[in-house]
Every structure is written in C-alpha cells, then in structure tokens.
Amino acid sequence: MTFELEPLVGTECWRLVVGGRAVPVRVQEQEGRLLVTIGADRVEVGVRRALPVPSRRASAQNGADRVEVRAPMPGLVVSVPAAIGEPVRAGGAVAIVEAMKMQMEVASPTDGRIEEIRVRPGQEVAGGQVMVLVRVSAPGAGEEALP
C-alpha cells in the first residue's frame, strides 16, 4: 500500500493519502519525536531506522568479492558457529538468531571464508543488521580451499 503526505495548510496540517482515501492530520515535531493528531486521537511516534538498507556505496567499496550476511529480523543472537578465517559453504549457518521464541539459522549465501564477525552471542540485533562478512571464494580457488 502506498501512502503520501500532501500539504493542507500552515506548517502542521497535512492530508495522509492512503489506500484510496485521504485523512486530515496534524503533525508536530518535538524533540526528535512526532506528535500526530488524527481525529480525536493524538499518537506520539518515536522514529529510528529499523532497517539499514543495503548500501550501494558500501558494496562497491567491498567489491563483489565480499558479501554481508544480515539478520533477517530483529532478535537475539544465540550463537555464532563461525570463526574468522574459517571456510563456509553456501547455505552453511554463520549465526543463530532467536525471535518470538523461535530460533533460526542465518546462512551464508555463498561459498567463501569468514572475514569479519560483527556480533556476539547474547547481543540484540535489529532486522537487517550486518552480522558477518564473507569473502567470496575465487572460482576454483574456493573449491580447492574447502575440504
């Protein structure tokens, strides 16, 4: 669903156009929070970036030979069954994350070698947070390196 804010009047009055209808709202910015008045209600919204979106520049710098393995959802890191320098196969677990009382393995999308580990067991992670960097094996060379 798309939603858009259109100016109505002054600095605070807007229309939220959402799902084929328009709702007049009043928005005030206060100390990094938003006060949103809709009809009879006022809702205070604290905003922080929950999903660090993959950065083109970062991947360019890293080059195509490095892959970021990200947390698929916000949760708690249970364990990191990987060590720097160790080889890893595509589909192999590099971290285990728990959320909503479910644990899930986070797998490397590629064959390669663990280059960097940015989380430790017991740590809270945001959805999309980079947990592990994997250096992609050069074709041929990677296969040779793996047992």
Partner: protein
C-alpha cells in the same frame, strides 16, 4: 431613541466580530478598540475605524472603563456594546456610560448589581416562586455548622459577591467544613473584595439547561427557548445545543415560564440568560448571566432571531421587535467552542503563532471566528478562538454536519479543542442526549484507536521521506513529486 449612527465595540476576538457584523446588518457604523497586541486582528479589520486603547498591558485596556467612555465620546459613538467578559457585567461601567449619555447595550447598573449578588438573585427567584437549590443566605463562621446541617451534605460554599467558578468549594462531610470555609472566604476576599459566602446543596450528576430571555424597558419579557450546556470542564462550557435533548415538554414549559418570571422579578432589561440545574425532573434556579452569552448562536440558528440586533433595539428604548407567539423554533443547532487549549494535555492553554487555518463551510454551518493566520495566541486573553455552529432539521442532521465541519477545520500552530469535540460527537452518551455535567470527564480515559496508531506510523514514515526530500529541495520544501523522490533516494544513499 432609534439605532445609534455609530457604536463602540468594547471587546475583542470572535464576539467583537459578531457585534461588528450585527452593526453592518443594521446600517450602524462599528468602531473597534484594540490593545497593541491585537493590531490587525479581524475585529479591527472589519470595523469602520479602530481606536488604540491606552496602556501597555494587554489586559488593562479592555477593562479601562473611563478610557472606553472617553473613546466613545470622542468618536461620536452613541452606544457601547461590551460583549461578554471584561466590563460586560460591571455596574460601575454601565453607570458611567449612562452618566456620559451613551447607551450601554445591556441591563442597567441596578440590574447588573442584583444579578452579580448571587444571594439577591436567589431571593428574587424565590419571590417569583421558582425553586432554588436548598441553601443559606450569607453565613458567619459561627452560623455555618447549623446552616450546613439544614442544607444537607454534600454542599458547595460559594462566594456571595462573584462567580466564574472562583471561591467555590465542595464539602462532603461536616468535619471538612471549617477548613473549606476558611479557604473559600480567603478566595472570595481576594477575587471579589467581599468575604461573604453562602452554602448551597450539591447535586451529584445534574444537567445544565439555560433559557435565553429578552426584556425591554416597557416591561415586556419574552424567552427564545432553552439551551443544553452540560458538556463542561471546570465549569467552562464546551458544547451547547438547542433545544435541550431528553427533557419532557412539561419540564421545558416549566423552565421557560420560570425564566420569564425570574426576569420580571429582577426588573430585567436587554438580553440575558437564566441558568438552571436539572436533577431528574426537578429543576433549580442557579443564576442570571446578565450579558450576551458565548453560546447565543445556537438560539439564533433555531429561532432565526438576531439577538445582538434585538439588544441594540431595546437598548435604544424600543420594544422587543417581535411577540412571544412570533418566535418559531425550527430544527436543531449544536455549537462547539474551539479554544487554543491542548485537550491531550489537561486542556492547558496552547500559546503560539497560528500559521495557517482552514475554516469549515457548507450547508448548515456557521463559524463565528476572531482569529486568522498570522495571529498570535497570547496568555493575556481567553483562549476561545472561534465557535462552530451546525444547524440541521433534526439533531442527527445537526450532529452529522458538525462532524463534517470539524473534519474540515484545520488549525496550524497551536493545539485546539477540535479533537475533544470529534471524540464527544461519537460518544453514545452524547448521541443519546442523556448526558450530564460529568460527561466530559470520560475524555481523560480515552486511548488512541488502533486505526489511529497505524495511520500515525504511516504519517511518520511519509513525514521522514518528505523531510529527506526537502533537505535537498531547499527551494520549496513542498510537493514531493516523482522527481524529488529520486533525489530523496539518492540523498539517503549519500548518507550511508
């Protein structure tokens, strides 16, 4: 005396605008007055001429009786309309106008004095055979305990010399009486310079109904029907309607007839309001408001009578321009008071500059407003910005129109009571018409709907997206078209 050629409007805000408009309709030249902070306000711009009030303090000007009389004399105004508040019920000011040969548009000083003395007004009502709440006359500390036993608990201690909710204390049991008495007497002395207090029975969940009256100098008295005003907070009205819902025809007739009898007993003149408390089918006189009321438009909408025009006629010595039988009541009217207060923050005054406003319009809607974009809401005056009045053929239509009007109303820069009104107009108790003076307390427990929380999250997301775009598009900061969203995306990229 016929209508004056010029009239001085000794007030500000929406009521000054209202009086200016009545003058226009009648061919009277309206002259406004203004304190420095009100230069350029709507009441100043709509009048033929506007005279600055002396003094630097914003409040003192509109309360400076001698200066107002002098300004009226100098500009050749033959009449002064005081509006409500300020000097509207001040007997000395009315007397000063009379002494200067200027018509005071309101009751004469003697009537104002009687209405201002609550004990005297109660006595007048009793003499007219109208029930008053069980109560005492002014009591000394020594008499208080026995007087309280006679009235019965719970009871209110009220100041004999004033009103406006000051000096009022609720006492639920005899042991709390001496302490409350001391406080009330102190407050009465401070607020009104008169330490006299009296006791009055307290009704737990009353309804507030009042009757609009008109009286002329020949002794003619008529009523223009009743208004229900039970949506209140701290004795301040928020929503009024006419007629009153949920009262029997017999009770209505008794109220209307009682109001006329009280007015006669007081020798009343000009427009006024007789207030009653209802306890089931029982009713009790409380007081007379000897002025034009804030909520007079609901009566105007259902009767078609211009109450301010009628005030000017009778102030000039004319009889009331129509007979009781000629007053026809049609449909229903509801008024919401739009104040610069934060309903989500205990209704505290919200100060600041209003940087944008869209007022509602359309069928059945009347907006009496005293502000515009660019105005600053200061702490010096009453926070009332405007009144939205909706008329319909029946109550349901009036309420539907009011909902539509409140959804259209946009005020940017200060908090307003609009969210409270939008809540109230959805409550079963209000829609059923059987609400009492405790109704507005329910607001404090209201929590945001899930729908509002979901929409607020979308607003926040869209807001941040716009903000990111606006920081690139410094030239306008307005519409985020497709192009600016590309720029916005690039900008976000650049931040990483």
């Amino acid at each position: 005396m016929p209508l004056p050629r010029r009239l001085l409007v000794a007030n500000r805000g929406e009521i000054a605008v209202r009086i200016v408009r009545a003058c226009r309709d009648l061919g009277v030249e309206p002259i406004a007055v203004y304190a420095p902070v009100d230069a350029g306000a709507p009441h100043v711009r709509l009048a033929d001429d506007a005279l600055p009030l002396p003094g630097d303090s914003p409040a003192e000007g509109y309360l400076n009786g001698p200066a107002l009389v002098e300004l009226a004399r100098r500009c050749g105004a033959a009449a002064i309309h005081p509006g409500y508040g300020f000097l509207s019920e001040n007997p000395s000011f009315a007397a000063a106008c009379e002494a200067a040969g200027i018509a005071f548009v309101g009751p004469p000083a003697s009537v104002l004095r009687m209405c201002g003395d609550k004990a005297a007004a109660r006595a007048a009502a009793t003499s007219a055979g109208v029930p008053v709440l069980p109560g005492s006359g002014a009591v000394s500390d020594a008499e208080a305990q026995s007087a309280a036993e006679a009235v019965g608990f719970p009871l209110l201690i009220k100041a004999a010399g004033g009103g406006g909710g000051k000096g009022i204390h609720l006492v639920r049991s005899p042991d709390a009486l001496p302490g409350a008495l001391r406080l009330a007497r102190g407050e009465a002395q401070t607020a009104f310079g008169d330490p006299r207090v009296y006791l009055e029975k307290w009704v737990e969940r009353p309804r507030h109904v009042e009757v609009q009256i008109l009286a002329d100098s020949a002794g003619g008295v008529i009523h223009l029907g009743e208004r229900a005003c039970s949506v209140q907070r701290r004795h301040q009205k928020l929503i009024e309607e006419a007629p009153a819902p949920g009262i029997s025809p017999e009770l209505r007739d008794a109220l209307l007839e009682s109001a006329v009898r009280v007015a006669r007993a007081l020798g009343y003149r000009n427009a006024g309001t007789v207030e009653f408390l209802l306890d089931g089918e029982a009713f009790f006189f409380i007081e007379v408001n000897a002025r034009l009321q804030v909520e007079h438009p609901v009566t105007e909408m259902v009767t078609g009578v211009d109450i301010v025009a009628a005030q000017l006629a009778v102030a000039g010595g004319e009889p009331i321009p129509f007979a009781q039988e000629e007053v026809r009541h049609t449909g229903w009217a509801v008024e919401c008071r739009i104040s610069a207060e934060d309903p989500h923050g205990g209704f505290l005054p919200s100060l600041g500059k209003i940087d944008g406003v869209i007022e509602p319009q359309g069928p059945g809607i009347r907006v009496d407003s005293g502000f515009r974009a660019g105005c600053t809401v200061s702490r010096h005056y009453d926070p009332l910005l405007s009144k939205v009045v909706a008329w319909g053929r029946d109550r349901a239509e009036a309420i539907a129109r009011m909902r539509r009007a409140l959804a259209e109303y946009a005020v940017s820069g200060v908090d307003t009571t609009i969210p409270f009104h939008r809540w109230a107009l959805e409550q079963p108790a209000f829609l059923g018409g059987a609400y009492d003076v405790r109704f507005a307390e329910e607001w404090d427990g209201a929590v945001p709907s899930q729908e509002a929380e979901r929409l607020a999250a979308e607003v926040a997301a869209a807001w941040l997206r716009r903000k990111a775009a606006a920081s690139v598009l410094v030239s306008d900061g307005q519409a985020a078209g497709p192009a600016s969203r590309w720029i916005s995306a690039a900008r976000e990229e650049g931040l990483r």
